[in-house]
Symmetry: C2
DNA sequence: ACCCTTTCAGACAGATCTGTCTATTCTAGC
DNA sequence: GCTAGAATAGACAGATCTGTCTGAAAGGGT
């Protein structure tokens, strides 16, 4: 993104986006992209409106016409993060069919995330910490976490867990801990550590599936066809 | 530089106050107590200097004489959190002698922490998220996390883990995840969930008895004699 | 051509925050 | 009682931030 187009009013919408023209994104999209970049890397409280509009090359009035106020922009930013996270995990899940492997694939997706040099922890945790008891942010975070937990629960049930809820909560703890450690300790291998611990949990609590050999509880990297 | 403490405060408290009087705490102590309460519950960025001094009943000049600037107060606040956390865990560890039980006791201490109605997540994570790449805060957080990890590593070694470092990292992940979940999901039972997962990990990776062989994992004998 | 929507540019008000400074009050020790 | 130093109360400067408002430019659709 970054679209640092020479501000100017140059050929904005490019007439039409039909031709091969890149079609400069709308003000809304540019604002959201800038919010994603600045809010995520520096924090929603630290980054002011002026920074956003300057980075997006957008007038202040456009921001307030589009999102109402700063909180509206923050909400839209978190919503886009949520969608992005869902897509990343859904994509990782398509790589496996075996339920046990699908559970571990979540941690592989996490590992890919950590390799991004711009990785800076969970956006919902940070935003929630910054905004205190901000209702809007809390709602977004709650929805995101409920989805994550439901996803883990479904996969755990498919894998034949005796108590899918419990296993899901435990895996979610590992997932959260890895997100936190990757940021606080600047350690991208946290996902591999979490995956190894998850594998131990699965082996100990899932019924002994005749699934090939006794899997591998390797450290970072791991996984057969892992990574993109 | 820190320790800009003018001898004044020391003179006041250290001088003589041992009359029967309650001895009102020094300005420094009241400021630190207010910082602990307000910074922790609402965030270091959100809470302004004026709120702090009003709550502490202290003049603004006293704050700046004692801590230099706001960052100095934040640093002192985090240092006191670190000490408190160390004490709580050390206290919990004295309750058990068996290494395996001592490892699990860390999660019990965590559970007690979660029962506090004012619990609001890890102060270091929140402060770090709010202040971005604030160097002082990062240093405090790094020190705290290094201590936690070292503590887990020592206990894991005492318990005879083949790879104490790995086990410590995994347990730390569970611990962090529980801290995060207790705050984000407002679920104090997260410590119990983490403890259960930790017990599974210990059963699966620790040798069955404090004797006998060292199981399938590669272990250059360093297992039980490592560190104290 | 004409209208209409979107966008731009930036001044401005009102609030808030950090940090400094002045002037007064309190307390301990001689 | 008196004095020195610490603490207090609060005004103040300087900066920053959110949100509003005015006014104009620039195309698209009819």
């Amino acid at each position: 993104m970054a679209s640092r187009v020479p501000a100017g009013t140059a050929a904005r919408t490019g007439g039409r986006q039909e031709a091969g023209q890149p079609a400069r994104p709308s003000a809304r999209e540019r604002l959201l992209a800038s919010a994603n970049e600045l809010f995520y890397s520096e924090g929603v409280q630290t980054v002011g409106i002026d920074r956003i509009i300057e980075h997006a090359g957008v007038a202040k009035a456009s921001l307030y016409n589009t999102f109402g106020n700063k909180e509206g922009l923050v909400r839209a930013y978190l919503e886009s993060r949520r969608q992005r996270s869902r897509n990343r995990i859904a994509r990782a899940l398509t790589r496996y069919r075996e339920p046990r492997e699908r559970l571990l694939a979540v941690f592989e997706a996490q590992g890919e995330m950590f390799t991004d040099p711009d990785y800076n922890g969970c956006a919902f945790v940070s935003a929630s910490a910054e905004a205190g008891a901000g209702s809007a942010i809390t709602d977004e975070a709650d929805e995101y976490r409920a989805w994550m937990r439901g996803m883990f629960t479904e996969l755990a049930a498919e894998a034949g867990a005796a108590d899918p809820e419990l296993l899901a909560r435990q895996l979610h703890l590992l997932y959260d801990g890895a997100m936190l450690s990757a940021r606080m300790d600047r350690d991208p291998t946290a996902a591999g550590t979490a995956r190894a611990a998850a594998a131990v949990l699965l082996n100990a609590t899932l019924p002994p599936r005749p699934a090939s050999d006794g899997d591998a509880r390797k450290g970072p990297g791991a996984a057969r066809t892992a990574a993109v």
